[in-house]
């Protein structure tokens, strides 16, 4: 079977057009990615969807997070910072066991932000809850207020800091949703690790973007918030709870 002249021409034109369009398409993609200087936009709301039926007995996400953010283990479990942890659940009546990663839930109405006296705890327009390391006075009121135990107080001198991730003794810190990666268009380290080496349970995306998979799944499938009774409208949602 041979290609007729007509068909050849048609395919050829299409291929040429495609080749010419490709850079335009990647340009559009580039234009959509955020520059580091660009302010976070309230049109977006970053979030996570975690399917705990897929969450295996591993801690790839925890390791990846702490490596990415330079959170060192000093061998003092009571005071070492934990930005993300694996929580094992066992139903009191049925004894069914489950495991899931828990981190800052990036609430729409975060109690930590409400109580912080200096405004060091704040929520970016795109929903990421952060601590300003320059204005945190280390009062730990936010730790008292967080329902999720998501915050750690830096109990000793910090070593091995990563350039992108400021930390400091005497201040409070928690999951930043890897804001430094998100701002360059990447997914948080935990999500990347889970999808590479773990159970592929974690999905990251813009909850407001109708074309995003996280948006589609949240609208098509049941999901739950941890302590939904507190009505904090968390940015991290779970499936299979």
């Amino acid at each position: 079977m041979s290609l007729g002249r007509r068909e050849f021409l048609a395919w050829g034109t299409a291929a040429t057009a495609g080749a010419a369009l490709a850079p335009v398409i990647s340009l559009v993609e580039l234009a959509q990615a955020r520059s580091p200087e660009e302010a976070a936009s309230s049109l977006r709301r970053w979030g996570l969807l975690i399917d705990i039926t897929k969450c295996a007995d591993c801690d790839e996400c925890v390791t990846a997070c702490h490596t990415e953010n330079g959170v060192a283990n000093n061998g003092r479990p009571r005071t070492d910072a934990q930005w993300i942890r694996k929580v094992n659940l066992r139903d009191k009546r049925t004894a069914v066991a489950q495991t899931l990663p828990l981190m800052c839930q990036h609430c729409e109405d975060p109690p930590c932000v409400d109580v912080c006296p200096t405004g060091a705890s704040f929520k970016r327009d795109d929903g990421i809850v952060l601590v300003d390391k320059h204005t945190c006075i280390g009062c730990r009121y936010c730790v008292m207020a967080c329902p999720y135990g998501a915050r750690s107080f830096v109990h000793e001198t910090v070593t091995g800091q990563r350039p992108d991730v400021p930390r400091g003794k005497g201040t409070v810190e928690s999951c930043t949703l890897c804001v430094h990666r998100v701002d360059r268009g990447d997914a948080p380290a935990c999500v990347e690790a889970c999808n590479r080496d773990g159970g592929k349970a974690m999905l990251f995306g813009d909850l407001n973007d109708a074309s995003a998979e996280i948006h589609r799944r949240l609208h098509a499938e049941p999901s739950a918030q941890v302590r939904a009774d507190l009505a904090l409208d968390t940015g991290v949602r779970y499936q299979g709870l």
Partner: protein
């Protein structure tokens, strides 16, 4: 009634200097402890990521609560027009300021970054009850200072009642603010009660009066001034009343909690199975801080040593009460997933362990010592103390 004569204390005796030196040493020890904690980081304390507010907060909250309560005596005189208490108003104001200064020092020195105090003073989040408290505390100093001025300055005496009323209202708001620091923590079962604010107010009455009575008796004894039995009897009875009120509010607080199913577990923890916290609740808070002082105070036949013992018990019991509330409240695990057993590297689902470190205790007692040292110095430099409070010197009609 002859106008009360006020006079500075001599402050020349060996006993006075020994007292001052001891207090200064305790303050220095507290400062050293704070430096150690800041330098090494809080991992050298008993605190952890689960117990972020430790023993320093117990002392700090006690002092702040007692500060507003110490002002009560002055309020009774000026707001409720009881002339019997008028000669005590100056000391009452002095103690209020000194106790607040002691408490705030502990609070600030326990911050992760006390060097950023200026940040706390220049950046405000008005949604935060903590930020409001900063205003309430600084305002309290100012209001009490003005109040004291109206008492000291003869020309201003006529404004004293109004200043006293302002101070009284301010202190009520301040204690409500302190109680609300805990009451606003929606996620913590232990604190989630509207009763916390009124409870803090009666606690402040009781703790403040206990401190006031002890300081009054000690300073009159130390300076050899006359202190009449009638006045002591009054203060003692008042203390008994406040202690009973605290017990009553504690009872109501726990009864309402027992009525709410989701608070059952935390109630069982505090009242029955909480180890040290249960022991501190029953023995420290209820027995030493409540039942014993009541028995001492209302037993017929007054005695000064019994009043002093009762006041001491109230202070010890108050510290126990705040320990149970602040530290016990954090030790009890937060309900992350109701209906499920939880376990994690963050000690979710288990009672957090905590034992106070020496540094924390030193910082806390340093704050107490600072409050007393300020009081002692105040008594020496300004005429806070009446020359005599003998029964004859105070209004017999009132007794």
């Amino acid at each position: 009634m002859t106008p009360t004569q006020f006079r500075e204390i001599e402050g020349r005796s060996g006993g006075f200097f020994a007292l001052l030196c001891t207090l200064v040493l305790l303050v220095l020890a507290g400062l050293g402890a704070a430096w150690h904690m800041e330098h090494e980081g809080h991992h050298v304390t008993g605190m952890s990521n689960r117990i972020v507010w430790g023993t320093p907060h117990v002392f700090a909250v006690f002092l702040i609560v007692a500060a507003s309560g110490a002002l009560n005596v002055a309020s009774i005189a000026s707001v409720f027009g009881r002339d019997l208490y008028k000669p005590l108003a100056r000391l009452s104001g002095l103690l209020a300021v000194a106790l607040l200064a002691g408490g705030l020092s502990v609070l600030v020195l326990d911050l992760g970054r006390p060097d950023r105090l200026i940040v706390a003073m220049t950046h405000y989040n008005f949604k935060s009850i903590f930020a409001w408290n900063i205003f309430l505390y600084t305002g309290f100093f100012a209001v009490v200072a003005v109040y004291l001025w109206t008492m000291f300055e003869r020309r201003m005496n006529s404004h004293s009642a109004r200043a006293g009323l302002l101070a009284f209202v301010w202190r009520l708001v301040l204690t409500t603010g302190t109680g609300s620091i805990f009451g606003f923590l929606v996620a913590r079962e232990t604190y989630n009660s509207a009763l916390l604010a009124p409870l803090f107010i009666v606690m402040s009455f009781s703790f403040g009066l206990a401190v006031f009575t002890l300081v009054l008796m000690a300073s009159f004894r130390g300076t050899g001034r006359a202190l009449g039995d009638a006045l002591i009897a009054r203060l003692t009875r008042l203390l008994g009343l406040f202690v009973a009120a605290v017990l009553y509010f504690v009872l109501v607080y726990h009864l309402t909690n027992l009525y709410i199913a989701r608070h059952h577990e935390v109630e069982r923890f505090i009242l029955l199975g909480g180890g040290i916290y249960t022991a501190l609740f029953w023995i420290g808070q209820v027995l030493v801080g409540g039942v014993i002082p009541l028995a001492l105070v209302f037993r017929p036949g007054a005695s000064r040593s019994r009043t002093a013992a009762a006041a001491g018990c109230v202070i010890a019991g108050g510290l126990a009460q705040l320990y149970v509330l602040i530290i016990g409240g954090q030790a009890f695990p937060q309900a992350l997933f109701p209906g499920k057993e939880v376990a994690s590297s963050f000690f979710d689902g288990v009672v957090a362990s905590y034992s106070p470190s020496l540094a924390e205790i030193a910082l806390g007692t340093g704050g107490m010592a600072l409050a007393l040292a300020l009081t002692v110095v105040g008594l020496k430099v300004l005429p806070f103390l009446p020359q005599s409070l003998s029964d004859a010197a105070i209004d017999p009609a009132e007794t």
